[in-house]
Symmetry: C2
Subunit: 125 residues, 2 copies
């Protein structure tokens, strides 16, 4: 595994894209260190590295919205990984929206096109 | 724009995902600084920041395989951008493959599932 993945360019981190395995929708972007990638492979669920909290982050540990890994792809130079996932709870974003990429930018105007799945004040106590 | 995008977390860079606007296939991941994002908006084509070359990188400047911007989305915390693009030449990767994410990882085995579109030795002289 080590020779396939290059953690050196990102100071120990690679970038992970979570994409809905069924619809192709991009759900979120996060980081992984070597330990989180190993945990992801072990559990079959996305485990990221939280830069803000400086700890492993088993996605959905609080909300229950885990990401089951369906397929994994490494990019050409090994500093990014694509996770095709089944998003439990149908929402990946801490805002309760399905995808984190809900702010559409067009001609300098931003529109919220997100699909609200849950109320974050109900989920994160 | 500035208040929507947070270049501070990534030392002046945000992460950009290029996704095929038609098929939903993820083509590549790259970085943008403020200037490259401004250029992208100005030209309507993807302009990244090359970390290795430390300069603006108008995608396709050498290969001709530019990326026409169809839609743009910012993520919830403003440190990532999703470009839905029309990939000219049908290949985004410097290896000549359609997508950079051509190494499928399954049970510790890596398989090349990429679609070879061009011969890089013919394109990059």
């Amino acid at each position: 595994m080590k020779q396939l993945v290059d953690f050196s360019k990102g100071d120990g981190l690679i970038t992970a894209i979570a994409q809905d395995a069924e619809t192709g929708e991009i759900l979120m972007l996060a980081n992984m260190n070597e330990e989180s990638l190993a945990k992801t492979l072990e559990l079959g669920e996305a485990v990221y590295w939280s830069r803000s909290r400086q700890r492993l982050w088993h996605k959905g540990e609080e909300s229950g919205n885990t990401q089951k890994i369906r397929e994994l792809y490494l990019d050409c130079d090994g500093d990014a990984i694509l996770l095709k996932v089944e998003q439990i709870g149908e929402a990946a974003c801490h805002t309760g929206k399905r995808s984190c990429f809900f702010r559409k930018l067009d001609q300098g105007v931003v529109t919220d096109v997100g699909v609200q799945v849950f109320d974050p004040s109900e989920v994160y106590k």
